[in-house]
């Protein structure tokens, strides 16, 4: 038995891209280029890189939403595309993904209650104690119970993201893939969500893959950081090493840019 929960082994992904209004030439975008990454149970792995570096594509590969053109995605040491029946369902349940924009990832026509109920039903977790489960979920993500009766449109960005997190938690996953979960939120709501995620990780013993373009946010959330650039992993290591002793020029530029922009807040003593 492997100690890795999730692995990407030599994964490449291409997108066919049409250029010009009338079709024109067809180019292939190489979104992931021979990426290998192993995630241990219980760790907080951070993935950082500029927009277009392939972070979301990798996240979707781990979640089984995109099939790589070559390479393998492994769950508990087994190729996810060889899993059958209950094994496959267990994998899909165990690996949940939360996207950047909760307002587009939640069904606008459904009340929060029905969104959560559907997920519980689909995973066979809806029973006599269903209502109690809903109340627990709301409590876990710090929302009042009356929000169960609302539609996503009636929620603020932060509240909607909490609902998206509750939906992911409903099926009792092992891994949460968090793809820029706070990038569309203002900094104070971001802080609330980051603290919520930290406490959920402790409570439920989750494994995190936390993705952001902001290396300060990634550092705050992760024990280990992977830096992506143009579809490749250019550097990885323990968070403090990556920040204090970056080896790759691209990593250095990410850190340098942030320090330059945030010089004054960096210097404040605490």
């Amino acid at each position: 038995m492997t100690r890795y929960l999730l692995e990407a082994l030599n994964v490449s992904v291409y997108y066919a891209l049409k250029r010009g209004l009338l079709g024109g030439a067809i180019y292939d975008v190489k979104a992931l280029d021979d990426v290998t990454l192993r995630i241990e149970e219980g760790e907080s792995l951070g993935i950082v890189g500029e927009s277009g570096s392939g972070k979301s594509t990798l996240a979707k590969c781990f979640a089984g939403l995109i099939k790589p053109a070559s390479g393998k995605i492994m769950y508990k040491g087994r190729d996810i595309y060889s899993l059958k029946g209950e094994d496959y369902r267990e994998y899909r349940r165990s690996v949940q993904i939360v996207f950047q924009n909760p307002h587009t990832s939640l069904n606008p026509m459904m009340r929060v209650r029905d969104t959560l109920k559907d997920v519980l039903k689909a995973s066979g977790k809806w029973g006599k104690d269903g209502e109690r489960k809903l109340a627990e979920l709301m409590k876990a993500v710090g929302l009042r119970e009356d929000i169960l009766n609302m539609y996503p449109m009636e929620l603020s960005g932060g509240q909607a993201q909490r609902v998206a997190i509750a939906r992911a938690l409903a099926v009792e996953p092992k891994v949460l893939i968090l793809d820029e979960p706070t990038s569309a939120l203002d900094v104070s709501v971001q802080a609330q969500i980051l603290e919520l995620l930290k406490s959920l990780k402790k409570t439920y013993g989750l494994t995190y893959v936390f993705i952001s373009h902001d290396i300060a946010v990634v550092r705050y959330m992760s024990d280990r950081i992977v830096v992506m650039h143009k579809g490749k992993i250019v550097e990885e290591g323990p968070s403090s090493d990556i920040i204090e002793n970056p080896k790759h020029e691209y990593t250095r530029s990410l850190i340098r840019d942030l320090i330059k922009l945030y010089a004054h807040i960096e210097e404040i003593s605490t």
Binding site: R219, Y220, S253, Y262
Partner: protein, 325 residues
Amino acid sequence: MKDPMLVVKNLKVSYKLKDRVVRAVRGVSFKLVEGQSLCIVGESGCGKSTLGYAISVSLPPNAVIEEGEILVNGVNILKTDPVTVRGKLVSLIPQDVGAALSPLNTIGEVFADVLGSIGGGRDSSLKVASDILKSLGFSDPQRILKSYPHELSGGMLQRVLIALAISLNPKVIIADEPTSMVDASLRREVVDLINTIRYNYSVTTIIITHDIAIAPSLCDITAVMYAGKIVEIGPSKSLIEKPLHPYTKMLSKSIPRIMKLVELKPIPGLPPDLGSPIKGCPFAPRCPDVVGDLCYNVEPEEYRAGGRSVYCHLYGGASHDTISA
């Protein structure tokens, strides 16, 4: 002291809805001289964009200016034909750059249109546009002028919108969250660009952002807005380094640092609903430093020191040296 370029005096703006009135800006005053820059920071829903729309005379139809004055270069723009104000005295760079330009026109056509409104012919307009684009770092302005918006990246579009905003030589430029939806690498570029126009065109700028930490790299002065009012205003560096208002302090503690791992202390709860009446200090329900009933009942007045103004009962009766900014 130079004459102020922009004066906002006791501005109050509301939105009329079917069943209620949202008081989005509840009495804002400040002055800027030529070339000065102001950051307006605060959480979502505090009235920052509404203030920006009011100053650029681009409020939506359901908004009403209840009270106040806005003077640009001595002109009361609320009593002036908006057509002579927009773009010419004040320009707005909207938050959603993707939606700002029609997909059917080339960038060149947009410039010709805008510059044509002041009587420029097509060729001279394109020449002016090309010069501005060049000054903002486009190496091939001709290609940009021939492009449609969808052919440009987000960063390039932002650059084009900044170029458009300065094309009529306005006195004041307002950018609504220019750094918010762009990724961290592009953010550096946007900040450099805004600073370029500040210095090269000596235009007075207002930058709206929820990110208080970025304020010193963008603006001389920072105003912290909460529930439709300014709660603290002063020189950006000292305001960040020594915040006085508990809200300002807590905003700074919401931001992850890069070099030092510092635990975040999020502000609990949400800003108040501006559709309901507000009594006392609007921040009191979330404030860790409430000084008794006073905060819940009496609206704090302005206390001034060292170029800083703060609206908080903690500083009530404070002399100038107890709040040295």
